[in-house]
Symmetry: C2
Subunit: 103 residues, 2 copies
Amino acid sequence: MASFNHFLSLDEETASRIAELFGTLSDTTRLRIISVIFTSEQSVGAIAEAINLSESAVSHHLRSMRQLRIVSSRREGKHIYYRLDDSHVADLFQKGLEHIKHD
Amino acid sequence: MASFNHFLSLDEETASRIAELFGTLSDTTRLRIISVIFTSEQSVGAIAEAINLSESAVSHHLRSMRQLRIVSSRREGKHIYYRLDDSHVADLFQKGLEHIKHD
């Protein structure tokens, strides 16, 4: 594989950033938020209702996730809508799910 | 998407197992181990040398990773060889790397 040497020389900063990304995903509430916005953007209120958590708690998680570009947001009037930032995040979630489901 | 309802109803046990998987991957040493065995199996000694860590420390990480089926092992004489357990793990690593590299 052409990228072998690239992977072999995974530098500390890159490793550290990937570790931070996985660390942010190692939380059941954040995973449930991801599952809610997996196919379409949702308002903070709708997410909070779907996972039965307060809007302030959900907002707190969404801010952390936005910093790592796991989610992105769009304001419309009084509401803020969140969606997965890109397909990598959806892939990460799906591969994680597939991994624990396969036997 | 047909699987929407499935994701929406992410149950606590499934969320917890995915969180545990990502938590195990949120460690720079483990990510460097994965990078070393990304394309081919390697002995514990070779992995330790590649990432400049003691064999006992590497073995400790590999045991945790084997429990979560991130890696699997094969014994040949005195040596134990480790490889990524399945393509999901390689995909997780690659998607994580792609995510932090894209701007």
